[in-house]
Subunit: 652 residues, 2 copies
C-alpha cells in the first residue's frame, strides 16, 4: 500500500462525467488539460469523447477571453438534456471540476445559467520547502507531511509526476499560484534564483497546464550572496541593475513566472533596515525588477523584534506590523502585494484580526493564512480550520456595517500543508484544510460546514450513509475543541519553544520572542489597552478599539489577549477565568474522547489505510489533549490556589 492517496479526486468521483458523451471545444494548453481529463474519465467509466454536436451529453467550450479578470470565470447551464460549460482556458478547467463536484446533479433537470468567478485573482500557496534538509526544521519548515514534493537529494526532483498530481488537486479547488520554496531562504535555496533556473522551469512546466503560476522566495541579500556585490542596498544602482539582470534571466527561463516572495528584516532574515532603508524601498526594488514582465512582489508584513527584553512590558510584538508598515501606506509600487498574517502574532488558534488589514487603503494587501497546522496540532490533531477562516474573512474590521476582511484584501495566500507523505498532508483528514483553503479563497463567503461536506462527499464517494455525518461531527467543531484544550481566552502560545508542539505554559514567558501571559498568583493576561497597557488596542478602527479596549466589552475568547485580569474575573459567559480554564480543558478532552469513539464507528466504511492512520493520530491527539488539560489545570491551580468548583480536576 504505497500508492499516493487520491485525496478529493478519487477515480470513482469521475463516474457521472466519465460515463457520458463529452464534447470539448477549443484549443490551447489548458483546453488540452480539460480534454485529457475527459479522456481519462471516459476511459475509466465507459463514456466517450465525441466530436459530433448532436450526440453530446456534455459540452465544454473554450471561449476567448484575454482580460485578466475574466480568464478564470466559467458559465454553466443545462438545457435540453445537455450540460454546457464555457470559459476561457483556466475558466474551462475550473468549470470541469465544478461538474466533478456536482456529480450526477449536473445531469438532472435543466438548470439556469450560472456564472462563477473567483473573488480574487490571487489564490496562492506558499511552500516552506527547503532544497536541503535543515538539521532542525527538516526539509519542509513547519512541515508535518514528510519531505518536499519539489526537491530531493539536494536538487529539484528529476521525477515531478507527484507535482503534476498536486497541480491537478489544486486546480480542482481553484488555487492558481504556488511559491515553491521557504520564505526563510537559506544559502542553498537562494540559488534557485540563479543556478537552478532549469529546475524551476521544469516545475513551472508541470504546473502550467493546471493554470498555476510559479513564484520564488528570494533572499533580500541575493546581490551579495549570489552576485558578489558589496551591498544589497535597495537604492544602490548596482543592486538595482543586478536584480534587473537576474530577473530577466528568470523570465527567459519561465516566461509566465509569478514573481518574488520576500521575508525581510524578520527573525534574522536580511532586509533593507541594514542599509537605513525602509520596507517600501526594499519592496519597490524588487517590484521594479519584475514589473517589465508583469510580475508581482509579495512582501511579508511579518516584521517584529525577536530579540526583545521580556522585562520590558511596554514592548509589544502585536504592535509591530502596524508600527512598521502603516506609515508606508501609499509608498508601495502597484505590483507589490503586502502579505499580512491574519493576526498580529503568528497563526495562533485564536487571535484578533491584524489591524493592518484595515489601515492601508492605498496598498494592495493579501491576507496570509496557515494551512499547515504549526500551532493547531501539527496534523497529529484533527483541527478543521474552515470555521476559523470563515470567521476572520467575514470579520467587519472597520466596525458594524463596514467591509469584511475578505472585501478589503486583494487575495488569499496560505502556507501549504503538503509533503511527500502518501496522504499528502500527514493526517488524512488534514486534506480538508487544503481543500477548504482553495474553496474559500475562490469564494470567501462559502459556508465552511458546506465546504466540509463537499470535501467529505468527494473524498469518500460511495461511503455508507451516516459515515459522512460522522466525519462531519468529528471535524466541524474540531477547531473550537482544539482551542478549548490549549491556551485559554486568546492568550496564545504556551507551546514548547522551537517545535511548537504540546503545552509549555511558561515556554515563551521569559524569552526574547515576545509572547507572554504574565500569569502571577493573582491573575493572567496581557494588558494591551490604550489606557494602561501597550496601546495595541488603539491600532484598531474606533469600534473595535473601544470594544477590545474595554475589559467588560471585550469578547471572552480574546479577553486575555487584551487584558490582565484576576482569576476570579467574571466573563461575559458568567463563568470566572479560572473556572473557564478548568471547564474548557475538561470538556475539550471529553470532546476528543467522543471523536475517538465516533471514528471507531467508521471501521470498514472508510478505506482501511485511512481508518488506521486516523485512528493512530486520534490516539496521539487524545494523549496530547490530556497533557494540555493537565498541565494547564495544574499550572493555574498552583498559581491561583482556586480549585475546580466542579471537583473534576485532580492533577495539582
Amino acid at each position: 500500500m504505497t500508492a499516493v492517496h487520491p485525496a478529493w479526486l478519487p477515480d470513482d468521483l469521475l463516474a457521472p462525467l466519465g460515463s457520458r458523451r463529452v464534447r470539448v471545444l477549443g484549443a490551447g494548453l489548458l483546453v488540452e488539460t480539460v480534454r485529457a481529463e475527459i479522456r481519462r474519465a471516459v476511459a475509466l467509466h465507459g463514456g466517450q469523447l465525441v466530436d459530433d454536436p448532436g450526440s453530446a451529453d456534455v459540452v465544454l467550450a473554450a471561449t476567448d477571453d484575454d482580460s485578466a479578470d475574466g480568464v478564470e470565470e466559467y458559465v454553466v447551464s443545462r438545457s435540453g438534456g445537455v450540460t454546457t460549460v464555457s470559459g476561457a482556458g483556466a475558466g474551462l478547467l475550473h468549470g470541469l471540476f465544478h461538474l466533478v463536484r456536482l456529480g450526477e446533479a449536473a445531469f438532472g433537470p435543466d438548470r439556469p445559467t450560472e456564472r462563477h468567478a473567483p473573488a480574487y485573482p490571487l489564490r496562492m500557496l506558499d511552500h516552506w520547502d527547503n532544497v536541503d534538509v535543515h538539521p532542525v526544521m527538516g526539509q519542509v519548515e513547519r512541515g508535518y507531511s514528510g519531505g518536499s514534493i519539489f526537491y530531493a537529494d539536494g536538487r529539484v526532483r528529476a521525477d515531478l509526476s507527484r507535482v503534476a498530481e498536486y497541480g491537478r488537486l489544486l486546480a480542482a479547488v481553484g488555487i492558481n499560484r504556488v511559491a515553491i520554496n521557504n520564505v526563510n531562504v537559506h544559502r542553498r535555496e537562494a540559488r534557485l534564483l540563479t543556478d537552478d533556473l532549469a529546475g524551476v522551469a521544469r516545475i513551472a512546466d508541470v504546473l502550467r497546464p493546471w493554470g498555476i503560476g510559479v513564484h520564488l522566495s528570494v533572499s533580500f541579500n541575493s546581490p551579495v550572496l549570489l552576485g558578489g556585490l558589496a551591498t544589497a542596498d535597495p537604492l544602490d544602482p548596482g543592486v538595482q541593475e543586478w536584480w534587473a539582470r537576474t530577473t530577466a534571466r528568470v523570465y527567459e527561463a519561465v516566461p509566465d513566472f509569478g514573481g518574488y516572495v520576500v521575508k525581510a528584516d524578520s527573525e534574522g532574515r536580511p532586509g533593507p533596515f541594514a542599509y537605513g532603508r525602509d520596507h517600501a524601498d526594499g519592496a519597490n526594488l524588487l517590484a521594479r525588477a519584475v514589473a517589465p514582465f508583469g510580475g508581482t512582489v509579495h512582501w511579508r508584513a511579518f516584521v517584529y523584534d525577536h530579540r526583545q527584553d521580556w522585562r520590558d512590558r511596554s514592548t509589544d510584538r502585536a504592535r509591530a506590523a502596524y508600527d512598521h508598515f502603516v506609515p508606508l501606506d501609499g509608498r508601495f509600487d502597484d505590483n507589490v502585494v503586502l502579505q499580512v498574517k491574519h493576526g498580529p502574532m503568528d497563526f495562533q488558534v485564536r487571535e484578533p484580526l491584524s489591524p493592518v488589514l484595515a489601515a492601508m487603503p492605498r496598498t494592495h494587501l493579501a491576507v496570509e493564512l496557515q494551512v499547515t497546522q504549526e500551532y493547531t496540532g501539527q496534523q497529529r490533531h484533527v483541527c478543521y480550520l474552515g470555521p476559523a477562516w470563515s470567521e476572520l474573512l467575514g470579520f467587519r474590521l472597520r466596525g458594524p456595517g463596514g467591509a469584511t476582511v475578505a472585501e478589503d484584501v486583494g487575495g488569499v495566500v496560505a502556507v501549504s500543508n503538503v509533503g511527500d507523505d502518501r496522504f499528502w498532508t500527514g493526517h488524512p483528514l488534514a486534506q480538508a484544510n487544503l481543500y477548504a483553503l482553495g474553496r474559500m479563497a475562490w469564494d470567501p463567503a462559502s459556508d465552511p460546514a458546506t465546504v466540509l461536506d463537499e470535501w467529505i462527499a468527494m473524498t469518500f464517494p460511495g461511503a455508507a450513509p451516516g459515515i459522512g455525518a460522522t466525519l462531519h461531527r468529528i471535524m466541524d467543531g474540531s477547531w473550537r475543541t482544539y482551542e478549548d484544550y490549549t491556551a485559554p481566552l486568546g492568550v496564545g502560545f504556551m507551546v514548547r519553544p522551537g517545535h511548537h508542539y504540546g503545552p509549555d505554559v511558561d515556554g515563551y514567558e521569559y524569552t526574547p520572542w515576545g509572547t507572554y501571559h504574565f500569569a502571577d498568583r493573582d491573575g493572567v493576561g496581557v494588558d494591551r489597552s490604550v489606557a494602561t497597557g501597550t496601546g495595541f488596542a488603539g491600532q484598531y478602527p474606533p469600534h473595535w478599539a473601544a470594544v477590545y479596549g474595554s475589559v467588560t466589552r471585550c469578547p471572552d475568547e480574546l479577553l486575555l489577549f487584551f487584558h490582565h485580569v484576576p482569576y476570579t474575573h467574571v466573563l461575559r459567559s458568567g463563568s470566572t477565568v479560572i473556572q473557564h480554564v478548568y471547564d474548557t480543558h475538561v470538556e475539550g478532552v471529553e470532546e476528543v474522547e467522543r471523536m475517538v469513539a465516533a471514528w471507531a464507528g467508521t471501521e470498514g466504511a472508510v478505506p482501511d489505510d485511512v481508518f488506521v492512520e486516523v485512528r493512530e493520530r486520534l490516539a496521539e491527539q487524545l494523549r496530547s489533549a490530556r497533557e494540555w488539560r493537565d498541565q494547564l489545570c495544574a499550572y493555574f491551580f498552583r498559581k491561583s490556589g482556586i480549585p475546580d468548583a466542579k471537583g473534576r480536576v485532580a492533577v495539582r
Copy 2:
C-alpha cells in the same frame, strides 16, 4: 594565532629542569617517553642529557616493578646537590612531572625521600565524542570545546598529533585511562568495536607512551547491530560467543585494551531489560568476554525511567539507581566496575551524594564526575569545580567517623571537557577543571585551593605578582557563585530542556524526565522524606537518613531537594526561603560583576589571546547570570507575591 594553547605545560615551565644536566636510567616505552621529554626540555633551555654518573644534577631512574599496584608510584629525594626520582615506567613519568611542578624548588636544599602513589589505579576520562556529527548534539555530546580530537570526516583522524599532546597533558596530571567514544553509542560509533579497530589501535599507540590505556563505549545491542544475531540476550550462548570472538579481535589489535564502557537501559539505550535479564547479567556478559585478557567493564548505574508521568508524585528519579542496583550487590564479576554518578540526579551544581556509593560493599564502585560543564555554565561561565569535588570525595556518607566517599570507591571516572578548540576546553579557565580532576583523582584529599594555585602557577609561569591572586579570587569561589545565581537550595535543574543552558524554571516541571520542584503559590521543593514523601531520604545510612529526612536538620543547600516548604520557611541561616532566593541571586550577579572587573585588571599580564577569550566569556556569564537572577526572582515573586525585603529586585 592558531597554535594550540600549551595548557599547563608551557615551554617556560620546563626551564628549571631543562637548564640542568639530567641522567635517565632504564629502558622501555615509558622510560623512552621520559628521555624524550628531557631531550625536549634541555634543547629548549640549555641543559644536557648526560650518561656520566658524576656530572648529573638530576637522575631519573627506572626501577623494575611488575606489581599492578606499584607500577605507577615514584620516589623522589634530593641529597648532595642531586635530585633523584625513581619509579617503574609510568611511575617514573609521573615523577618527571612532579619535578616539573616543583620547578626550582626541586633543586634547592636537600629533601628527604618522599614516596608518591595514586589513591586508585583507576583514574579515567570518558569522552562523549561521536565519530559522526550528531544533528542536535554536535560531534561531542555535551561538548563545549569544538569537535572531537579523535575523529574527523566520519573516521578516526589521520593526524593524531593533537591526541599525543593530550596524552602528555593527561600524564602530567595522572590520568591513566581514556574511553574514546560517547556512552550513547549510535549506529556509526558502534562500529568502532569492529570495522574501525585499526583506528582504535592507532589511538592506543599514541596514548600508550603516556601510560594511558584506551577503553571503548559499546552498544549492548552490538550482537544484533553488528553481528546480525537475532538477540542480544546476555544468557544466550550465541551472544556470549559473539562477544568472546569480537573481544578477542579487539585484543589482537590492542593487546593492552582497557575494556568496555556501557550505558544500558538508560535514556533509550538498549540493555538487558529487553530480555528479562538484570544488569548483573548484562555486565557479566561483557566482563567474561574481556576477563581472559585482563580487561574491565565499566557499567553505568545511571538508569532511571525517562518516560515517567509528572502527575505521579510518588515516582522519584532520585531513587532509581539505588532501586535498580543495590539488590544486585555481590552479583557482579570481579572485573566489573559499577560507575555511579556522584549524585542521584545528573551532575547538578548541587546534589546530595548518591546513596548507592555507601550501599554496595561487595561491588567495585567508581564515582563518576563531570568535567564538561553541562549544568555548570557549559564553559561559557567560570565555574571551578575543585571545591565541589573535594566536598563530595571527602563526604562521610556512612555518617560521622565513617569512611569518606573517596575511601569507599575504587576509582574516579569523569566526563572530559576537551575538544579540538585551541584552548582545549573552550573557556581557557576551564582547563583548571581538567587539571584538578586529574590531581584529585590521584589524591582525593588534595586541597582544591592549592590545586588551583598549582594550576595557575603552571599555566601562567612568570606572570606578574598579584595576577595569581587575581585568578585565584576569580576562580576559587566560582562554583558557589554559580550555585547562587542558578537553581536555589539544591532543587536543581530549572534549565532549558535539551541544551541545558540558561534558566527555565518550569522547563522540566511537566515533562517525562522526572526532575521537578512543585512550586505553587505557597511553597516549593520536593518532599523526599520517608514520612510524607518519596522515601528517597531513607536510602541513606541512618545518620544522613535522619538529617536529610528532617526539615529542621537538613542543610540549607539541600533543603528543597528533600523537602517542600513554604516560601516563608526560616532556613538554618536565619533567612527565609524566598528572601534567600532574592539574596543569593542578587549577590551572585554582583560577584560575577566583581569577576569581570578583576579580569579587566589582568590585561597585559596574561597572554592577549587568553585575555580576550576570557573577557568575552565573562561578558556572556554576566549576561546569563542576570538572566538567571531576573527569571528566578520574577518567577518566585509572581508565585509567592512576597517582595524582596531589601527592595533590590525590580523585575516582576
